[in-house]
Amino acid sequence: MKEKQATMDKLLTVSMSPHVHHRDTTSRLMYGVVIALLPAWAASVWFFGWGALYIPLLSVFFAVLFEYLIARFLLKREPSVRDGSAVVTGLLLAFTLPVNIPVWILAIGVFVAIGVGKMSFGGLGTNPFNPALVGRVFLFISFPVQMTSWPLPKGFATADAVTGATPLGLLKEGMRQGEHVADMMKELPANLDMFMGHMPGSMGEVAAAALLLGFLYLLWKRIITWHIPVTIFVTVFLFSGLLWLIDPVNNATPWFHLLSGGLMLGAIFMATDYVTSPMTHRGMIWYGVGIGLLTVIIRRWGAYPEGVQFAILIMNAFVPLINLYVKPKRFGEVKKNG
């Protein structure tokens, strides 16, 4: 039988459909997050000087190094540090620390984040808790002094850093001494200063404006959806606003809650961590509501001035449950009668 020559002299690849793929890869998404963090990083350097440049770089270096070593020598498998997730973890952890953090404490924090928070569960995709927050909370509990001496923004001035309390720290301290919140609000930074980042705080959390710029980038590139951050913002605003309306003497304004502490950084970059957040949009909304409520509750009634980190970690623990019970709306679901 005569066959066409073209048919047989070539081996063709055969695989199941689909035969095309979207251009996004894990590493593209991760480096997208890094790009979205750049405005906040730049703002941080502007406010806190060169330290804010090299501490995050050092943190990224440690994160990649530890992940590589653990994968290669403990788990004995091909390290996948090129996927960029360790870079994101390192950067995010650094962003939650004060700029004057000693390097050895930073190294311990990164080790806990990567080693305990991520690799002990099997690496990328399997950790239940946000690794950067695991590292931060470990440091926060182990080194309370170093972790709460917040340098005031001084830019590139060479004078010795002056440290002070964060706005949330001031608020909590005042409340403990029985002062009226309404009186204290006058001494706290103005909303505009807080929006621009002119306040003491961790490296990456202070500049709300820069963080929101990053948020827009993430939305534009479709790296995350609006559901988690917006739900957190709305919940915090409404809940703290309700408290403020009921009792303005003993509660801070909702604007203050939105702009202070790590809320922006947490809501935009930590709560949206793929691995530790829910899989459905409705689930994300429940999760965001939970984080918002817990944040305000901890800030208002808890022992710590800031509640975002704990709120996110607590809601991380609920994610498997949310995934089990909050299902997407199935197409053509037949309503059961009776």
Binding site: S17, P18, H19, V20, P328
Partner: protein, 448 residues
């Protein structure tokens, strides 16, 4: 201007690459040897009624439908039956086929080959159904379900609306686009025929708005037509899926496990509709179809009107020959088409395109850990959770997969397409469906 509609949940938008959109349909004359499989449809194989050495004419019955859900197969060429033997088809299996050596182009005299448009529909409803069944018409969008079965509304159900599927949401494919542009009049008569068969007074032609010329052309033609309208749709894959198209046009959801008729709708592809016109008005069985031959490296991406049974190699040669860098040959579109290992596979009733993919794009990337980004969940047009279904497949937890509605999956591939970790989601979902299907069949037998 009409409101542009779409389905609300999920979907993706792969690059369109409609390379052959501007190329008119070319007739590819028959020649050489054709291979006509007796199964080109969903359902029972047709039974050959010719023998080795028989002389056949174009349109003559080669294999007779062997049940209600089955379809006749007619000779696409004239010539001599070389033999009846097993040959590879697009599925990768060998199927019983009638192999014919082409001699001339001699048609059965009762087929009207003139180009005159026959507008008036004289056939009664029963006659239309009989003609369509006789002509061996099946869903030409790719599903190849026998059309007469879809047109015969079961007792207790009522059809209200006919949707003509001109969506062509697969990248690269342009066969339906060209048909709408070049055979619009016939398409509308075909639509009337299907409306009459169903007893409906309303039909909507759904077209994605990346084909503005087709929308405009058919809108002009339908302006005078009572009951037929054109509905522009937003470009979104898999809008050509029956359930998604019905949702987009009517807002109704076909219930899980149900059929379009459960919400009063019947959907037919534009190719099928034109074939119905030819069957009823011209007495012509389904022996040829329009096939897009395309690919980034192909010299001359084209749309061919080609006889069933022609080897795809002949189509590729007519489009400028197989490019040197070809790594994969796909029959159909890149999202749902089948990759084949050889080029001697014949064109069958459901093949809408031949796509040549360069070697650089022919291979899958190795897959990585799931980062739980939830993209697969948000693109799934059926509201399923592909990451979970894959996981259940890996761990062979098929009962749970059944409870998570894996059988609702339409295998559109949006999940595998979007996954940033390149995970083979749909592969495992297919495994789930296979095992769950076996489970369901066993349970049914146990009841009996």
């Amino acid at each position: 201007m009409q409101k542009i509609k779409t389905f609300p949940k999920g979907g993706v938008h792969p690059p369109e690459h409609k390379l052959s959109a501007g190329r008119p349909i070319e007739v590819l004359p028959p020649g050489g040897r054709v291979v006509v499989p007796v199964v080109q449809h969903i359902g029972a194989p047709a039974e050959p009624v010719v023998q080795r050495g028989d002389e056949v004419k174009v349109g003559q019955l080669l294999a007779k439908s062997s049940g209600y859900v089955s379809a006749n197969v007619h000779s696409p060429v004239s010539g001599k039956v070389f033999r009846i033997d097993k040959r590879f088809d697009a599925s990768g299996y060998k199927r019983t086929s009638v192999i014919i050596d082409v001699e001339g182009d001699d048609w059965l005299p009762e087929i009207d080959r003139s180009e005159t448009l026959v507008r008036e529909i004289t056939a009664a409803r029963e006659e239309i159904l009989a003609r369509i069944q006789e002509a061996g018409i099946v869903g030409m969008g790719g599903a190849t379900f026998p059309s007469h079965v879809k047109l015969n509304v079961p007792r207790g159900k009522k059809a209200e609306l006919l949707i003509i599927n001109g969506v062509e949401c697969e990248p690269y494919l342009t066969a339906d686009h060209r048909l709408m542009l070049e055979r619009g009049e016939e398409l509308l008569v075909g639509t009337r025929i299907l409306m009459k068969a169903l007893g409906v007074d309303r039909a909507v032609i759904g077209i994605e708005n990346n084909k503005p010329d087709a929308i405009e052309h058919l809108s002009r033609l339908t302006a005078a037509e009572e009951g037929i309208t054109v509905q522009p749709l937003k470009v979104k894959y898999p809008q050509g899926g029956e359930k998604q198209l019905i949702k987009a046009v009517t807002g109704r959801e076909v219930p899980s496990g149900g059929l379009p008729i459960d919400v009063g709708v019947v959907v037919h592809n534009v190719g099928t509709t034109v074939a119905a016109y030819e069957a009823v008005q011209k007495n012509k069985p389904l022996i040829e179809r329009v096939v897009t031959v395309t690919g980034k490296s192909l010299a001359k991406p084209s749309n061919f009107l080609v006889r069933i049974g022609t080897p795809i190699s002949a189509l590729v040669d007519a489009a400028g020959g197989l490019p040197d860098d070809t790594g994969k040959v796909v029959l159909g579109g890149p999202m749902m088409g089948k990759a084949v290992a050889r080029l001697d596979i014949p064109v069958t009733k459901g093949i809408s395109g031949v796509l040549l993919i360069p070697d650089a794009e022919a291979h899958r990337r190795p897959y990585q850990a799931c980062i739980r980004c939830a993209r697969c969940v948000s693109v799934c047009p059926m509201g399923l959770e592909p990451y979970l279904l894959m996981d259940l497949g890996v761990h062979e937890r098929f009962e749970r997969a059944r409870d998570e509605r894996v059988m609702d999956c339409i295998e559109c591939g949006s999940c595998s397409y979007i996954c940033p970790a390149d995970r083979p989601l749909l592969d495992y979902i297919r495994l789930d469906k296979l095992r769950v299907g076996e489970m369901i069949r066993k349970a049914k037998q146990a009841v009996k």
